[in-house]
Symmetry: C4
Subunit: 262 residues, 4 copies
């Protein structure tokens, strides 16, 4: 899955599955500190606002994932991180309120062993593509990270008129089925999901999903934009997810968000 | 009125109607400190600029409302707050100049006992919808807070060529009649009004009114956007106004505006 | 000329025409300190960038005007102010380089005794209206300050292919003739000129010229926007230039730009 | 080549070609300190983001150029600068990773002795013009610096499906051939190249390339924009590259980016 970027599924098993919390707080593993940084970065780059969230698969136990308590990403700190089983059950909630839509994360981790990090967001530039039937596709090389196809999922198709939120694991699994082997998915009238092989790569994907959407929208106003070819997308995504590009971008995003690169 | 968010009309009567000012300044009730925060937030989020204002119904006396003196929201402090009767008469002006358009607030509070907070603004992204006949309607779930229908009021219809400002209680009442039971109203060539069941909920509504407008504008450039269904709007608004979502958003907006959450 | 805002032509003669510079620096009159503030405000609000400038008629001598030396407005300080006669000749240059386009200011002051302040800028949102023949007209009440008609001047019509800059007093006078009795003028492929009865009012006009342009552009994408009527423009401009509105806006713009209101 | 701005090819030979690095670091020549400033400026003005780069021809040896190691421009410091021969070979890498696309710079310096500075970037506002066949051309006088013609290069034409990056000197030379005698070039689905006779002038060009693109895009939504004539472009570019304009802009861009003007 070159399209997911650096670090593969083998990494999931790299550390033994020890207890996730001790004395109430998660160990400050690099993955968790990167997750805090990712929260701040996605807020700073305008991918998330008051709402949206980012998670990482627990490097010690691939059957669990880590996600902040119900708090805006701009404010998330290490102490806000909670651990969940893949069906969305908190391991040690200690009175903290989880995000209502944590099922998105759990269901994607369940369906995609290659996925180690997930972002759900409502980036404004992406939203027009969720309600108009116009395909969001890579038109710039930095946009290749979103993959050749970005399916649109509509919660109404299977679940009727809802509050639009993914509240059950069944809804999450339906979303994950539409995601399939792709890197990004749009949710009708709601937002998007991006998945990756690391926190750094999913952050890159989520950011350039919106940039690509903005460019595509403007290009559609000018005429019929020429997208990248399938082979260009594959090759370019591999280049964008290479350590040279990914490390450069991560250092940059961290500096802009005022966090130390981890 | 789930569409108005947390806290109901009963709250209006929760405290006895004591004197509104003592020694010249309003008591620093949480509602008034939240009103100051709301001023800063709306400025910081680009909903108001030099102009626009936000008010709260006096929790001690539902026949009065509190609004800043004539000052840009970005600069409003507790000492700037003035109290008014519902016809817009200042209770204790002490030489301070009130906003010329305070009648908007008074007339809405008069017509809508369920309304505890009102915003009037000229958010740029909303303005195109006030002059083109294109309906502003929820196309994203965070936009559900604006309600299914957003009527457009034109001051010229009843009052002819004016300076466009709502200067009399009669003009305010005409506006309130067009607002009806809705949560938002557009004013032709001028701006918008949003109402809510609390300061926090009306701030959320005013912010997402503009975000929804921007998304709808871009979507209209791509094609014919699919809006939320009536049932989705009701259910989604209830979710967005739930304490989980509203508290999260309020903490976020306060942090961005540099004010302490109250 | 209500459309020009507060303070009338009588103000020009309010102070005796004393020597403009003593020991090399202009007296720190309120008008000159306001001019420095205006430079910072226009930069901060995105009306000017590296280029553009703002001047004031000398309150001590209506046959002279004051303008910064050739420096970006964001950086202008009191010591950068230079005085010019209406034909653009520096009174006491002391080696400082003046703006190449100071003739715009001189020619306008010459033709319009009611004008006490002038801005020339290239605000990006205004530029599309200078090259497409689509009229820029007030579509929102805060935009009424630009006046009912905004003529477009093309330097090529009289002067052929140039470097597009207004370099001679003859070019300036041609521009001023096209401006006529209006408050704003567009320059084809170049920018705009706004005039006012005070520094504060011309700043308001220049800022809302761009805001109105942005709204009109978006509204044109939606349909055929309804503009303000001629009477609404006159009445609304008077309201926007009233002390209540103008002082509020000036305090706000000063605070955003980090300068003390003068 | 007036279109390239201040300082001509003679400057290349102004200093003897001494050894480029001593004890591991480049001498802090003004050109190199300006190059660091240019990195910060281009990031601050939104021309580059995580990606993109700017180089200068070595004033001591015209067969070499100086470019940062693989790092985002916002973060570049003097110690990050590396020297390269025109075929892209590092002179003294000392373990530092160079940009993958340094060949763009080398090939342009090789083909264009008049060029002393090069920017490669992915400015979002420029990208729609790389994929739609709509010509990017000067429509405002500040945009005259981009030159009358901006060709579009497509890597696929000669090199088939690639990762879109200019990785070989042959690809760079093909790009340089399409650039020809022009000042700017667009790369299909990728970005742009701007060249200049000094760091300051190429920074001005890169910034106004995007501004001109944004204005042209908006103007195309309004109608058929009137561009500058060929003679206007030549004359206006000469004016914009004059010391009066260029120094003013450089001081402004430096101040905004928080760097000392050099």
């Amino acid at each position: 899955m070159a399209a997911l970027g650096a670090a593969g599924a083998s990494r999931v098993l790299a550390q033994p599955a020890v207890a996730a919390s001790r004395g109430g707080a998660l160990e400050p593993l690099p993955e968790f500190r990167r997750l805090v940084a990712a929260n701040r970065i996605l807020a700073n780059e305008g991918v998330v606002d008051a709402f949206g969230h980012v998670s990482v698969r627990d490097p010690r136990n691939p059957e669990r994932f880590v996600l902040a308590r119900s708090r805006s990403p701009a404010l998330v700190e290490l102490a806000d991180l909670m651990e969940f089983s893949l069906d969305g059950t908190p391991i040690d909630a200690r009175g903290r309120t989880p995000y209502g839509e944590r099922m998105i994360h759990g269901a994607v981790y369940e369906a995609r062993p290659d996925v180690l990090a997930v972002v759900h967001h409502h980036a404004y530039g992406v939203l027009p593509f969720t309600i108009t039937g116009v395909p969001l596709r890579p038109v710039i090389h930095t946009g290749s990270v979103i993959g050749a196809e970005v399916p649109v999922w509509d919660i109404r198709t299977r679940f009727g008129d809802t509050d639009m939120l993914v509240r059950t694991i069944e809804q999450g699994r339906d979303l994950a089925a539409t995601l399939g082997r792709n890197t990004c998915l749009l949710m009708r009238g709601h937002g998007a999901v991006a998945v990756g092989a690391s926190v750094q790569s999913v952050v890159l994907t989520a950011i350039y999903l919106q940039i690509n959407a903005n460019v595509e929208l403007q290009a559609l106003a000018l005429g019929n934009p020429e997208g990248l070819s399938a082979e260009e997308i594959d090759k370019s995504a591999a280049a964008q997810f290479s350590p040279r590009a990914l490390d450069r971008a991560w250092e940059y995003f961290c500096q802009r968000a005022g966090v130390d690169p981890v």
